[in-house]
Symmetry: C2
Subunit: 321 residues, 2 copies
DNA sequence: TGGACAAATTGAACTAGTACACTCTTGGCG
DNA sequence: CGCCAAGAGTGTACTAGTTCAATTTGTCCA
């Protein structure tokens, strides 16, 4: 269907007008994919260059946004009122959702949401992609592997708590503060400790920020840098392993409640048998009660360690005042 | 080759004698598979009933052990000395090895060997199976999943160090002893800390034995059981996280030396950039030197923690003497 | 006007872990 | 001798992570 060549208006403007109308009426909604340049050229029977001009005009109007290789989508803020029914949020996140430019932040947030609710194992590339309404392979544009995905999830999460600039008075209060912040984090994201045991800490900027904060908290105590680093790492370790216990606890509970795999059932039985076999008389008296108080475990480890560190600090102060 | 029928001795006793000789001379070694009843019948040209009597006689002698469906193997404790040449270890482990009932121990040892040399990731079911000369599925007769394999590997390894029955004098010496034993273990098996972060500690008997030992070491200090458990777990945590750092260190080194994946190269660069970006002035001054002294890290964490614990013990002794 | 090009995306295919069902071998029994 | 039950090993198939080679897209140049 060739455009009418009678009018003084050049053909590409006609096409622009037509598409603009479709956008403004809501026929094409924000986030929807535009027809590609080649499709326009073919559909309207014009040259590719003409179609290119159409695109350029629409882009200049701010109606659409274009990314090389990825296609062109209708901009989010075209100013027109939300047209015909159906709130957008409901339609996001599902397989049939409108094609929307995928960004890393979104990927990470979705992955974290899945991990929070269903555990880290539930975060498969395919599952994540389905949740975002894209093909599994598309994810590899944003993360180079699943390991990196986990790393970035960790980074994202470690960015959550804000660390007060000067912090409270005294090194002990400061160390307790950051430890508790991290503990909180692990509570919220049960997959975190396990993830941390995979990744290289050096590649997670926000984790480094925590370490840096801790190092600063140890400033002015007259300690060697080596000592300070060791202190920071040890503290970190205490939090994470208590958190790991917590994660195991919770996971075990959930399993008991839901799946009841015969495998896990067997394992539980074996564990019980072992406990009451007489090989572990001391262990047998406590398991199941005190152990499950992971919060207490965390506080205990922290207190002991800080006491020991306090002794070191005093020592240092005495020998080199 | 029919047996001489001249002698008054019934044929099945002759066969028994012959096989017994082969066992005693070491031609058939403990653990080796006996010929099956049918094989005996065919080879010696006798009826199956006769062969069955042979089996029964040998079984009664305690020379062999029989399991229905699984075949008959030479018993472990036949009392004879290790005979003729060729150390067994050399003949194990290869595809052409003599058909030997695959047992769990063997599977675990092979898996541990692979993990020690090439890392835990190299232990795939297929690889392990190939190493043992069996099909991948055969492994599932002995472990129900890869997770269980790792668990049992961990158990096996934790069984290595022997824990002295009374141990040295004083709680501190005892706690240091067991911590160092575990530290040694992690040094020998770099995959261990990562494996531990997966598994449920309660399902690993030999790990429980360590905990039990620690609990006993804390006997008589007047501490609540809760406290003792927490102490044991915390100590354990300190060892394992220091070991985890070590594993990461070593792994990073190996990667730099060998593969040099462009991915890891990129990651390294990014880490370096981050370090020197000015966001982490304190961290930047130390990374790469002190951090890599993981042994120092371990000793530091241990010392601090034990100091703190000592304070607690003293306190306890003062308030309730 | 048309074709070359780089970036983004995607589909087919490969390896791993694993479930299920099947075969093969074994000792035992009538 | 032949059948049986048990147990070891295997073949097929499905899901996950990942690679590689196309395919699509907007842009640029002759």
């Amino acid at each position: 269907m060739p455009s009418s060549t009678q009018r003084p208006e050049p053909p590409y403007l006609q096409i622009v007008a037509e598409i603009r109308t479709r956008i403004l009426t809501g026929d094409l909604r924000p986030g929807d994919r535009m027809p590609s340049i080649r499709q326009i050229a073919q559909r309207w029977g014009v040259a590719i260059a003409t179609a290119t001009k159409v695109m350029a005009a629409l882009r200049d109007d701010g109606l659409v946004e274009t990314k090389v290789g990825a296609g062109t989508v209708v901009s989010a803020c075209t100013g027109q009122t939300q047209p015909v029914g159906l709130t957008t949020p409901l339609r996001l996140r599902r397989a049939g959702a409108p094609k929307q430019a995928l960004n890393r932040k979104q990927v990470l947030r979705t992955a974290i949401a899945i991990a929070d609710i269903e555990g880290l194992d539930a975060v498969s590339m395919r599952r994540l992609a389905a949740e975002l309404g894209v093909g599994p392979m598309s994810l590899y544009r944003h993360v180079s592997s699943k390991d990196e995905l986990v790393m970035q999830m960790t980074d994202e999460v470690f960015g959550e708590p804000e660390l007060p600039a000067p912090g409270p008075e005294g090194w002990r209060a400061k160390l307790e503060l950051i430890s508790r912040r991290q503990w909180e984090l692990c509570r919220r994201h049960l997959w975190l400790p396990r993830a941390v045991s995979f990744i290289r800490p050096l590649l997670v900027p926000n984790m480094m920020a925590h370490t840096e904060w801790t190092l600063r908290a140890l400033d002015g105590l007259g300690l060697a840098m080596t000592t300070r680093i060791r202190e920071a790492l040890t503290l970190h370790a205490l939090v994470l392993t208590a958190a790991l216990s917590m994660a195991n606890e919770v996971e075990a509970e959930q399993e008991t409640g839901v799946t009841l795999d015969r495998w896990w059932l067997t394992q539980r039985q074996r564990a019980d048998e072992l406990l009451h076999s007489g090989r572990f008389p001391l262990l047998a008296t406590v398991i199941g009660e005190e152990v499950s108080d992971v919060n207490g475990l965390f506080e205990y480890g922290l207190a002991r360690h800080l006491d020991g560190f306090a002794a070191l600090v005093e020592d240092e102060a005495r020998t080199r005042p």
